[in-house]
Amino acid sequence: MNKEFNPEVMIEVIDLHKYFKDLHVLKGVSTKITRGEVVAVMGPSGGGKSTFLRCMNRLEEPSSGKIIVEGIDITSPYVDINKVRTEIGMVFQLFNLFPHLTAIENVKLAPMNVRKVSDAEATERGLALLEKVGLSDKAHNYPDQLSGGQQQRVAIARALAMQPQIMFFDEPTSALDPEMIGEVLDVMRAMADEGMTMVVVSHEMGFINEAADRILLLAEGVIVEEGTPEQIFKHPTQQRTQEFLGKILSV
């Protein structure tokens, strides 16, 4: 824990670099994410958005730089990354639910095996979470019996079951049919309203405009511009930002 530890800073990223073999994907990214903040990460594909997110819970090993989560440098070899990950919920583009388990079993798995919560307690808490995402009637269905939007909501409940301090969303709606995007965004909006700290890689303009406190625009491995949705969408200062926004708005 360093001296200047500020309890309001959840995650501090300092000069993060990531190489895949010779490919330099992240070229020195630095930012701070404070408690309760909703940060949207936008940018062209291949710009390093997902890699940035996945480095922050070390699903990808950072090549250099520091990532300080609640005062702990998680790139340090002394850190038990499994413990850190229990504080960070993650939702994936392709849901990645466990297909051999029912919705409630998906939600219970980590609390029971990592937090060693009793079956009864985990079930009770799991059902409450499924209720929260509007799926209490689907608790005993297997993932392949659920629609994409329902699967993604179960995945959110599964991540919440570990009572994380912060939630990462890696393009949570880009694999969904248009009519299912709303139900997932509603759940995310509710979480934001409850004060959950969130980092969201997404291009859902409406959601970002409404829920995000800050946008990071990541292109070619660097943060090109950052600011509130208002600033970024209405008065972008960088040409790269204008180009990118022009492309996604013209669709």
Partner: protein
């Protein structure tokens, strides 16, 4: 839709000149008259035992050609029903067998006396069934060990440690390329020189377990690798350790993928227990050989073959069924 309007939508050069017409050679009238003629040929024109070889050869050859032509005429016709084609195919096989029976010059009675003389087997059946029991026990115990060892090897392999992999790959390659009979003989006859003397049954179980654990490991590895990488990421992101991920997420899913090839392995292993007769394990083939020697009659070997078939055919079917069900999912 009537015929005229159906035809109106078809370009003129695709329209049959004589709609509904069947070529005369494919009409049932012709087919059944030809069949009657073939039966007549078979009854009255095929030569007897006393015909000259040339006469026999020509006569049988012509008959065979006619039968094949008649069958082919039906089998290649897309408009005949499947059951009719099936009947024709079986009929063709029957005719070929019958020709072989009649003209191959085999001494059928002698063959029957030595290989199918089940009267001589009286009193020896219990011995064979005791052998079968040992065979099944050998297979069951070896299956258990090989699955256990195979699973451990596959899990170790999935850690992708370069150093560990050298040893694992060496093990897998060694036991997959060494013939079972060589392995068994080596373990039973050579290991005692190293101070490890195993009973024949133990040697058999060890050889089968080692040999088949390599195949089992490969099946498990394929199963583990078939699980989408996102599953591992999701589990790790929740804070599960590598081993928990393996135990709670990967293996339960991999098992379903692995069961069909594993069943196939078990069928092969059950068959390979017969090799154990060279190291004097008292299994089915060994027992059959004893009866063969005791009665001076090889019917026991045929009996053993039939017992193997009765046990293994359903298992082979089962493996096939499981595989098809996997593909259908």
């Amino acid at each position: 839709m009537n015929y005229e309007s159906a035809r109106a939508n078809i370009p003129s050069h695709f329209i049959r000149s004589r709609p509904g017409w069947t070529y005369w050679i494919r009409r049932y009238e012709f087919i059944f008259v030809a069949l009657a003629l073939l039966v007549g040929y078979a009854l009255f024109l095929l030569p007897g035992e006393d015909a000259t070889p040339v006469n026999r050869g020509v006569s049988i050859g012509v008959f065979l050609l006619l039968v094949l032509a008649w069958s082919a005429n039906i089998l290649i016709d897309g408009e005949k029903s499947d059951w009719f084609k099936g009947a024709v195919a079986f009929g063709l096989v029957f005719v070929l067998c019958w020709l072989f029976y009649k003209y191959s010059g085999t001494k059928w009675d002698k063959l029957g006396r030595s290989f199918f003389n089940f009267a001589k087997m009286e009193g020896s059946w219990p011995q064979l069934f005791k052998g079968l029991l040992v065979t099944l026990q050998l297979a069951a115990i070896s299956a258990l060990f090989s699955i256990l060892i195979g699973l451990i090897l596959a899990v170790l392999r999935s850690f992708e440690s370069p150093t560990l992999n050298i040893f694992l790959i060496a093990y897998l390659d060694l036991f997959r390329s060494i013939p079972m009979i060589v392995l068994m003989v080596f373990i039973y006859y050579a290991l005692p020189y190293l101070g490890v003397a195993l009973e024949s049954v133990m040697a058999t179980v060890l050889a089968l377990s080692l040999g088949y654990s390599a195949y089992t490991a490969e099946s498990f590895r394929a199963g583990i690798e078939s699980i989408h990488f996102g599953q591992v990421e999701a589990a790790r992101a929740l804070g599960l350790t590598r081993l928990q991920t393996m135990r709670l997420v990967i293996i339960p899913q991999a098992i379903k993928v692995v069961i069909p090839p594993l069943t196939g392995n078990l069928v092969a292993m059950l068959k390979d227990t017969a090799v154990a007769s060279v190291v004097a394990s008292p299994e089915l083939l060994k027992r059959a050989k004893e009866v063969y020697v005791g009665k001076a009659n090889p019917t026991a070997l045929v009996a053993a073959a039939i017992i193997y078939l009765i046990v293994l055919l359903p298992l082979a079917r089962l493996a096939n069924m499981l595989e098809n069900r996997m593909k259908a999912r």
